[in-house]
Amino acid sequence: MIFDTLMIIALCLLVLAIMANLYRVVKGPSSADRVQALDSVGINIIASIAVFSVFLHTHAFFDLILLIGILSFIGTTAFAKFLERGVVIERKR
């Protein structure tokens, strides 16, 4: 069917996007580049899960979208705080 073919094309585009972001993770000169590229990889994985659940025609993976969104944001925030201040959780008094 043409619909499944379109979903596979979208998945291939998302895999290409993840590959390009992984190139930036490997090469990036500063560590802010790497964290930004990994955050972008997480967002692309969310889109891939959505496309894949349409491709399989199931509702079972919608929790994963929310979960990976929350985990990606928490990881990026923790790493940004670590790069900025040297600690993740500060000890104020």
Binding site: F3, L6, M7, I9, A10, L11, L13, L14, L16, A17, I18, M19, A20, N21, Y23, R24, S30, A32, D33, V35, Q36, A37, D39, S40, I43, N44, I46, A47, A50, V51, S53, V54, H59, F62, D63, I65, L66, G69, I70, S72, F73, T76, T77, A80, K81, L83, E84, R91, K92, R93
Partner: protein, 139 residues
């Protein structure tokens, strides 16, 4: 009946995938951290919003299944992706990651020169007093 859902879903999902690919190309080709963050945060957020909206409309039209989790996912990604990009850019600027070659003007420099010195002094004082007062308190 299910044909319109497939058409709308496929169109939105393809638009979202193309936006994600454009964002990744910008993330590879642009010259410094800040322009790369600009490309990576904005257009990949738009791409994932289009893909999730296409999924939502596909299941809504073809199955009649309205998923509140997808609405929450759209809302959460839309809320948090620019905040994450902002925090990464701020930490990069504080650690003096250089701007691109052709940069004309850096308006944040004076502000950060004043405020960062003040913040560093006060933090150092807080850390020193904390380290010195901790063993006394435990003894």
């Amino acid at each position: 009946m299910s044909g319109s859902g497939e058409v709308i879903g496929a169109a939105l999902i393809l638009i979202g995938a193309v936006f994600s690919l454009i964002s990744a190309i910008g993330n590879v080709r642009l010259p410094d951290v800040y322009t790369r963050s600009h490309a990576a945060s904005k257009s990949s957020t738009l791409g994932v919003l289009c893909a999730l909206l296409g999924t939502l409309l596909y299941f809504l039209i073809s199955d009649g299944y309205f998923s509140i989790r997808l609405i929450l996912g759209i809302f959460f990604v839309f809320l948090t992706a620019p905040v994450a990009a902002h925090m990464i850019c701020r930490s990069a600027y504080r650690h003096h990651v250089p701007l691109a070659e052709g940069t004309v003007q850096d308006e944040l420099k004076d502000y950060y020169m004043e405020n960062e010195n003040m913040e560093l002094d006060s933090e150092d004082q807080i850390d020193v007093t904390e380290i010195e007062s901790k063993p006394l308190a435990t003894d």
